[in-house]
């Protein structure tokens, strides 16, 4: 794991698998997560306003983005012997049926502490129009 950690260069870019959002994937996520908020299911409800915001139709769960970013990170880390330790995200725009999402990350920095070896990554999710859906930061540990 020391060799793997040492070999990681700040600036390294990681790309995750694209994910095509449909009403079916949203419904499947409802059943798997038990999150049946009408934001994700009820078009009539979503014609209404949410304060100054009108979504105009159902939107994907933000936590689907969180799960897709997690998958990108663990797919990259497991073969290197790294452990996914933290993910922080903020949602910038909703994702909708018909969108294709692409997760990506960049190694921002490395840090050696008294007991551990860490990397910090910047993460983001964009749709097919290159609009940012989510941004955030992740942290992985390469145990000593």
């Amino acid at each position: 794991m020391a060799a793997a950690f040492d070999a990681i260069e700040p600036g390294t870019r990681i790309e995750g698998e694209p994910f095509a959002v449909t009403r079916e994937t949203i419904r499947e996520f409802c059943d798997a997560s038990l999150d049946y908020n009408p934001l994700h299911l009820d078009d009539a409800y979503m014609q209404g306003d949410f304060g100054a915001t009108n979504f105009g139709g159902v939107i994907m769960h933000g936590m689907t983005s969180f799960a897709l970013l997690t998958r990108m990170l663990t797919d990259w880390l497991y073969p290197l012997g790294g452990i996914h330790r933290r993910l922080e995200t903020r949602w910038r725009a909703p994702a909708r049926p018909g969108d294709t999402l692409r997760p990506a990350a960049r190694v921002a920095r490395k840090k050696v502490t008294r007991l551990g070896r860490w990397i910090v990554l910047e993460v983001e999710m964009r749709n097919q129009r290159q609009e940012i859906i989510a941004t955030g930061e992740a942290m992985a540990e390469f145990p000593r």
């Binding site: 997560s33 009408p38 934001l39 409800y45 897709l68 663990t74 995200t89």
Partner: protein, 157 residues
């Protein structure tokens, strides 16, 4: 523990859930223990397209450093709803997720009985919106922390 009936109609008894005004920062939320089954893990993995063999292939997982199947770190997405009762305010229709941060300690595993300690930690008003900050810690049956997280939601008016 693995409740056969999960109320999927979040409008049902919605008026019984706490509004933003009624949230008391610091007050614990009522939670429920939950038996995480292999079926629930697989269903979650399929829904997010994450079929890593550590999650779905028992033989592979047994030979790995993890010593057996684990759940993806993000399984707390399911656990949040699985470990809370139907009158929990996170189910209020119109709850909008603004951001989350989660830290991971030991993985959840199929067969774990998982408990949750949770509370609204803070609430505030910003740009005409009502926010709640919630913190959550999931434990396994051995009392070990699986993960801890903090989220911000915009509460329905």
């Amino acid at each position: 523990m693995a409740r056969a009936q999960f109320e999927t109609d979040f409008w049902k008894d919605a008026q019984l859930r706490k509004s933003w005004d009624e949230l008391v920062p610091g007050e614990p939320r009522r939670t429920l223990p939950y038996l995480l089954t292999r079926e629930a893990v697989l269903k979650y993995c399929r829904a997010v397209g994450d079929l890593h063999p550590l999650y779905v292939d028992e033989d592979y997982a047994r030979r790995s450093p993890w010593g057996g199947p684990i759940a993806p770190p993000s399984i707390h997405i399911l656990l949040m709803f699985a470990c809370t009762p139907a009158d929990d305010w996170m189910r209020s229709p119109g709850t909008i997720n603004a951001g989350q941060s989660w830290s991971y300690n030991v993985p959840a595993r199929p067969g774990d009985t998982i408990t949750l300690q949770a509370r609204c930690l803070d609430k505030f008003i910003r740009k005409e919106r009502l926010f709640a900050v919630h913190d959550n810690v999931f434990f396994n049956q051995h009392g070990r922390v699986i993960c801890s997280g903090r989220g911000q939601t915009i509460r329905p008016l």
